[in-house]
């Protein structure tokens, strides 16, 4: 089986055009029939995704309640995104979530894989891989329901705190102004730690053992070995992990909707929720579209920046 490029590299583009396979001339047919083959997929894509994206940009320049007539709004919606306290906060919250969803799991994952770097060769690894990955496939609505009960007054978290004598810290986490956002962030950490661990361990498995041998001969300790060999070789995996987790943090909607609806107050409001709420509840479709555009731009910009970490395919 040929080596597949990780998803995220293709998204960003540099050097994508060439395959990793040796550069033999692939026999390609010039054919108008190709358009026929591509058309159905492209039509569905354009009609239900492509065109609406362009329309979102269009909507963002109007004020519309979704029912009656719309009025031109110039860039006032975009101005609101940056000046309205509640909207600004929602982006700040998304940033906080990025720390929990992405930074923490990646760091912990790297640290752990350095620690148990040779675990990938164990026979039981396949079992662990399955279990660690399991949270990723559960619907977020179900995960939200699970964690609501964990964070409740008599839920698992408070039970544990009471067990170790820290009862004074127990509270209803999702209703607490200071901790609600962190509580949601921790769900993301839980979700993504397994993913990062699996990714990095398998990446380590791909590193040629000779490199380690050479380092050992040179007298390098584990720390140096990690920094000099492991980390650079994992650049691809780190990029994938960061992309998946950062984007999931920014896209957070389901979790906030089910657990807190943006509350208490505005403590857990996030851009995706604000866009939905304003488009379909409070009748501010133009503003919602502007929020959606800004969110998308942020996501794309971050994805592009992260891809720079990944090694170029020609390496």
């Amino acid at each position: 089986m040929t080596l597949h490029q990780p998803e995220q590299r293709a998204v960003t583009g540099p050097g994508e055009g060439q395959a990793a396979a040796p550069a033999r001339r692939r026999p390609a047919r010039r054919s108008g029939k190709a358009y026929l083959y591509v058309a159905p997929a492209f039509l569905v894509f354009a009609a239900f995704l492509g065109a609406p994206v362009v329309q979102t940009v269009q909507y963002s320049f109007y004020d519309w309640d979704g029912l009656g007539r719309s009025t031109a709004a110039g860039v006032s919606n975009y101005v609101s995104v940056f000046t309205d306290e509640r909207l600004r906060d929602s982006f700040v919250h998304a940033g906080v979530l990025m720390l929990f969803y992405a930074a923490a799991p990646v760091v912990v994952g790297l640290f752990l894989s350095a620690l148990i770097s040779r675990a990938h060769a164990m026979r039981s690894m396949s079992f662990f891989r399955t279990v660690l990955f399991l949270p990723q496939v559960i619907a977020t609505v179900v995960i939200a329901t699970i964690w609501i009960s964990i964070y409740s007054q008599d839920g698992l978290l408070n039970q544990t705190l009471r067990l170790v004598g820290l009862d004074s810290l127990s509270r209803v986490w999702l209703g607490d102004h200071t901790f609600a956002l962190i509580a949601i962030g921790l769900v993301g950490t839980w979700l993504n730690i397994g993913l990062c661990l699996v990714l990095f361990l398998s990446g380590i498995g791909n590193i040629a053992p000779e490199l380690f041998e050479a380092a050992r001969l040179d007298g390098a300790g584990r720390a140096r070995e990690f920094v000099a060999i492991t980390l650079p070789s994992l650049r691809g995996q780190i990029a994938v992990a960061l992309t998946l987790t950062v984007v999931s943090a920014l896209k957070t909607f389901d979790l906030v909707f089910i657990t807190t609806r943006g509350g208490p107050g505005n403590a857990t409001s996030v851009p995706a929720f604000e866009a939905y709420n304003r488009a379909f509840n409070t009748g501010q479709v133009g503003l919602a579209s502007a929020i959606a555009v800004v969110l998308t731009v942020v996501i794309v910009a971050l994805t592009v920046s992260i891809s720079r970490i990944a090694p170029r395919e020609s390496e």
Binding site: M1, P6, Y37, V44, M122, T130, S149, K251
Partner: protein
Amino acid sequence: MNVSRTERIVNQLILVVFALFAVVPLLGVLLSSVTPASQNSGGFAIPDAVDFGNYGAAWSRGNFSSYLLSSVLVTAAVVILSVVLATFAGFAFARFDFRGSSVLFYLLLIGLTLPTEAFIIPLYFNLRTIGLTDTYWALILPQTAQSLAFAVFWMRNQFRGFPGEIIEAARLDGCSDLRLLWRVVVPPSLAPMMTMAVVITMWTWNEFLLPLVMVVSDSRRTAPLGLALFQGQHLTDYSLLAAAGVMVALPIAVLFFALQKRFINGMVGGISSR
């Protein structure tokens, strides 16, 4: 590589700790779902009596029989549609040379990064204008569009890696492009196509925002949406909610256990293990 015993034990220990960390909440919901409602206050506890009645209540009273059926319908349609359309398109991108192929391909790829919010607002109003909201098509077609970005990329990769000699040989034999694709190229590629299919299945099954906006009638609600609204009415009915949650998550979890490798490979874009 020789792994010393101590190192193996340490490795196992760390992995066990994190495996537990990942699994305890899920174990908790399973236990909660069979706990009699009166005993359940939301904590992690092993019930002294096992009550499967919660599942029955969720199935009938909670209407989950209908919700699950809707999910199956929509997911199956999206997977079939995506696989077929992406096979055609991926083959064309991989094996044909035509003007604009790069541009078209990159347009599709952009779809991978876009959040649902980037297009759902106008999509809703467009579909409302043509009267398609609150139909299964309103769920199937947009999700197919979303899956296509991934699917076309995936299939193009597969077909690029396909041995050129076989294709040449078939063409020399006078094989038409259509036959070439479905009779020659696809059969050996079924395994990666399967990988793609399970990933699309998972994404579609778990989708929440799109049904939340598009679906109005109770009869067309998909499982995650049904769970969300069910939860709003039974905020502290932990046993009932747990049972409903298990029902919604179980199909994908079962699929996952059966096809673990495919899932993991597919989701992270595939890095072959040695």
